[in-house]
Symmetry: C2
Subunit: 211 residues, 2 copies
DNA sequence: ACCTGAACACCGTTCAAGT
DNA sequence: ACCTGAACACCGTTCAAGT
């Protein structure tokens, strides 16, 4: 049933994931779902937990050294592997963020990540701050609030925009110019994710070895 | 009307911000709102834009040096000031993240932030990556996906939990022990936000001066 | 024990009708 | 031009009734 819910969201979008629609998908005549799940929130918690288990299966199959300085590479690989799961379920990040009750599988994921940091010599205090600093990046996604020039305004910049937004226009002109054949989509999500991730991991690594 | 929507969300919670309820609040008999707004999405876009303007008013009143190395302190102050607005509207971050169309005021905010980075000597390329790395932190919030020990399980750790989650339990025991009189709420949101922010700003500053 | 259909209390939104 | 009420097509959920 949770599997069916995930499949439905993957194929038709998360907004069509409704109790009635899901029941139809399962050839159950409507409100029988309530015998397997307390309410819709409970169903969504289950969906999150199942995806988190999918992530755990993927990352726990990785076998790399994590002692000392190797922690960083190990954490990096783990996080980027977790990310591949979200690439299959692009509707899932907002769902993960909206959950009040935390999924046991998500807790387990973070437990193991703290384990890697401990292997690297982190104090519990630093590991704690590290989890906060990473936030959703620890699980492999980062909610993009604002996608500067998401492909909408490629070549032509509206009249007066340069005066009102001098810096963004400047940035747009230069970065788009650097890579002329991809004027739209000049933000490489994967690159940007790794850039931000490395910035944080490097910073943590520096704190680790200075203590 | 947008003001009324924000007040309603502040007082009664964002889930009660419904077209019918908002109309009642304005003593308008229900569906007259559609003469001032295309649909609910449009209303929410307006709400986001108004809050973003509130942020811009606050940060543009700041007058500090931003040339060269001073960029970092200027950006830090700006972001922490923006954050104070969200502390008044704690329901707003998910709304900001859910918007498809970007608010002009949000764009303006980011334009000025890039301006600070330019003052600090950033290339446009680095400023671009910096925006992505900061993500929602640039605007003063970070969606916490997982609040390790958010006050629920203070002293008593369930049987078997230590074996299943050795690292989180270890972390919980140590960090809670450090500050015994605040066993619940051992995560100081403001401190954690600044920790993560400084980690990123310091990393960017290092890249800035190494180029 | 499990499923069902009708019903309830809500949504956002449309539309024809009022002033 | 602005507001209104009824109605439509959806929700999640309750509940009494079926097998």
């Amino acid at each position: 049933m949770l599997r069916a819910a995930i499949d439905l969201a993957d194929v038709e979008g998360v907004q069509t994931l409704t109790m009635r629609r899901l029941a139809k998908e399962l050839d159950a005549e409507a409100m029988s779902l309530y015998h397997h799940v307390a309410n819709k929130d409970d169903l969504l918690n289950g969906v999150v937990d199942l995806i988190a288990n999918e992530i755990n299966d993927a990352v726990e199959a990785i076998d790399v050294l994590s002692a000392g300085a190797a922690w960083k590479q190990a954490a990096r690989e783990r996080i980027l592997t977790a990310r591949t799961v979200f690439l299959r379920h692009p509707w899932a990040p907002p769902l993960f963020e909206s959950r009040a009750a935390v999924s046991p599988a998500v807790v387990r994921y973070h437990d193991r990540l703290v384990g890697l940091m401990r292997d690297g010599g982190f104090s519990y205090d630093l590991a704690h701050h590290a989890l906060h600093a990473l936030g959703s990046r620890a699980l492999g996604f980062s909610q993009e609030l604002f996608d500067p020039g998401d492909g909408s305004a490629p070549a032509e910049i509206p009249e007066g925009m340069a005066e009102q937004l001098p810096y963004l226009v400047g940035m747009l002109r230069e970065v788009a110019h650097d890579d002329p054949d991809s004027t739209l989509g000049w933000c490489d999500d994967q690159f940007e994710f790794e850039f931000g991730l490395d910035l944080i991991l490097d910073g943590l690594d520096r704190l680790r070895s200075s203590r």
